[in-house]
Subunit: 440 residues, 2 copies
């Protein structure tokens, strides 16, 4: 029998405490699966006195998290502190430098420093594991790293932020504005007091950059992710989308196009026939399209103490089994530095919602503008009046919405048409444009 | 740079040739991910002359597959011969005995001899890998073995046979009988000339017994799987199910109940709100419910040369990376021998279709029989006449169908009611009973 794997745990919030609870609840099963016990020997958190509902009596208390890595009774450090820099990064470097394995759920840190940390782990021959950083309890990192490893991945995309998906799902179901649902979610503790990382798409972009790195064998390039959040999505857009056979989701999408990397987080119309359209509430889902495997679809809980702890402890079982492996599915020296794709050259269908004055000739003017820009229309709905419908926007009393779905078109053409409309006296509010997810 | 991993490949059918094609197409990528090349050095198949559309010129030809394992230029054997015993099993034992890794897609062999082979692999310290044996290109073996390893799995279930799912999907979409769709599928090469392994549920049962072994840390017990195929499903049942808000799927389901193992393959009504209901055509899907991760859902292509090769080569990349690990997620000595669950004690909703004579009082008789057995009815449809509707059954001209969904009830109570009805002069054909999948 191998000696127990001894864990130093930094951070005892909901998720950190969840890791302790899981290791306790499933201790026997974990020992069978890892062929050795996994025990928490030392912990560190800000407030020592707080009751976290778990038994920490057998673990040493360390005031400075950085000291966890130096302890003789710690083989692996689990970091649940958060933040891309600061104490989490100091702890990561110190742990790997000492030749100990490091497990984290910290997507922000990985998006910014993942490559450096992976190179350090490699140099020291130890594991850097982060299953919990993307899509919570869904083992999508292992699925891409190991399960789909034989494939050239054509694209990887999904719903990576549970807060946004929860908000969009409730906006549609209850015909409420973004602001109203966000306030309620904050009151119930489902959304952060400062929701920007979630609702502005940054959290999803962190996760996407990590997925793209593994999927395409590319050096993580968080800076080049085009990011648009869900603040501008109105209930009326959700309703129009439903009428047209779509649901609106915050989709994070990465694709390799001719040796360049296309990465985008954006609210997107998903056809009802696509499985992503039915991923509701706080669930997450990831689609990976392989050249041999075809379309793989994974869904499950994207956040929460239980799912996150499930992913963290899966990593610990890997470590206990002695499975080190390269952090980003291949040695860092083999990762390619891909250029940034030209987003304007991308083609696809678009959803447009225009707020226009209600008078004869306006529709003719709009469609002429689109035609001149080379944008052809697949379907069109005219609705009046523009106000109401749970939408928080204020529009003129005489305004109407014109909603369109275009045929597949270059993004640059749509941009040109919208720029022209912005100068038109008939168009009384900034046009709303969203992409349509057309990957069958 | 580590030396290439040298593969001996037994069997060059569609899937065997697919493995060669994949290793060739993605050679550069695989070398980056595995940190070494993977090359086929020797092959064996029945017909040497056949053109398989792949370049085998650099591989040695071996007439007797068993000899592959003895070759000095073979590090790992890939078995694509098939069959639970015979040459495949001889090759597996010979390879592991020599201390070489063994990769297979052979679910029948694993269901019958997996434990013995795993023990042998363990004793020799080599890998036994079989990702391709269950759900084709979906990396569900790795997901259960590694990704969900921290969880006590409450149940695992899914759609594991693409042929059955293809047949049921077409029967529903085109209102055709089982016999008609099967014949067409055979003519198109989608179904085997002898379809029994698929349509009688045996293939799904093989796969289920493997999944259950990993999920519950149990010794594989194929013999105790209750198996019912799809031959008795009629188009009229698919239509009735749709009216009631369900789709009929061949569901393979395993659950640990108080230390016993419940394993069943059966046509089953899946509520439309459940993601399994939307898995169509030849797709496969697996649901695993973990005590911490919650419900994990995986779907993708369940068969075919590309997806199967994707899974086989993922295993080869594991081997190339030196990841051995126990075949069934824990050392065989730690696997539990679980007893067989009492299926009669299970409770759940049921779908019943009764063929009865069309005269007053029959419905009262039926409902009294059900009441007396303790079966209460949730919804009821009476349709007449019983014949037609794409259904191949022949019933009396005056017969009608009575279709019911029961409330959750013990299986033994339903069985008692059906036994009583079998003796009734009003019931003119054997009642059709199917379970309803009620795992939200």
């Amino acid at each position: 029998m191998t000696a127990p794997l001894r864990v130093g745990l930094a951070g005892l919030g909901t998720v950190g405490a969840g890791v302790v609870a899981l290791l306790e609840a499933n201790a026997g099963l974990i020992e069978r699966r890892a062929d050795r016990a996994i025990v928490v020997t030392a912990v560190s958190a800000r407030d020592r006195g707080r009751d976290r509902g778990v038994d920490l009596s057998r673990a040493a208390w360390v005031d400075d998290a950085t000291q966890l890595s130096a302890r003789d009774d710690v083989d692996v450090v689990v970091e649940m502190i958060g933040g891309s820099d600061g104490p989490a990064l100091v702890l990561a470097r110190a742990t790997l430098e000492r030749g100990k394995a490091f497990v984290t759920a910290n997507k922000a840190m990985l998006a910014h420093h993942g490559l450096d940390l992976a190179a350090l782990a490699e140099a020291k021959g130890v594991a850097l594991k982060y299953e919990a950083a993307v899509a919570g309890g869904i083992p999508v990192i292992k699925a891409l790293r190991d399960g789909a490893a034989a494939n050239r991945i054509l694209r990887v995309y999904g719903i990576l932020n549970g807060t946004c998906n929860y908000i969009l799902t409730r906006m549609e179901a209850e015909d409420l504005s973004f602001t109203a649902v966000l306030a309620d979610a904050q009151a119930k503790g489902f959304a952060e007091a400062d929701p920007s990382f979630d609702v502005d798409g940054i959290d999803a972009a962190h996760k996407l950059s990590i997925l793209a790195g593994i999927a395409f064998g590319a050096r993580i390039d968080f800076a080049s992710v085009a990011v648009q959040g869900i603040r501008a999505v109105a209930a009326v857009d959700l309703a129009h989308a439903a009428t047209l056979g779509f649901r609106i989701k915050l989709v994070a999408l990465a694709e390799e196009i001719d040796g360049t990397l296309f990465q985008r987080v954006h609210p997107c119309l998903v056809p009802l026939a696509h499985p992503l359209a039915h991923v509701d509430g706080a669930l997450n889902a990831v689609v990976a399209e392989g050249d041999f495997a075809g379309r793989l679809f994974f869904s499950g809980a994207g956040a929460g103490a239980g799912p996150t702890a499930s992913a963290v402890v899966a990593d610990l079982i890997d470590v206990a089994r002695g499975e080190v492996g390269p952090a980003f599915a291949m040695p860092t020296a083999r990762l390619a530095a891909l250029g940034v794709a030209d987003a304007a050259a991308a083609t696809g269908r678009c959803y447009l919602r225009l707020t226009v004055v209600d008078r004869p000739g306006v529709l003719a003017e709009l469609t002429a503008t689109l035609r001149d820009a080379g944008v052809s229309i697949e379907s069109l709905i005219q609705r009046s009046p523009a106000a109401g419908g749970g939408n928080s926007e204020t529009t003129g009393a005489a305004d109407v919405y014109v909603v369109m779905v275009t045929h597949a078109v270059r993004q640059s053409a749509v941009a040109a048409a919208l720029a022209r409309m912005a100068t038109s006296a008939s168009v009384t509010a900034p046009p709303v444009m969203m992409h349509i997810l057309d990957y069958g």
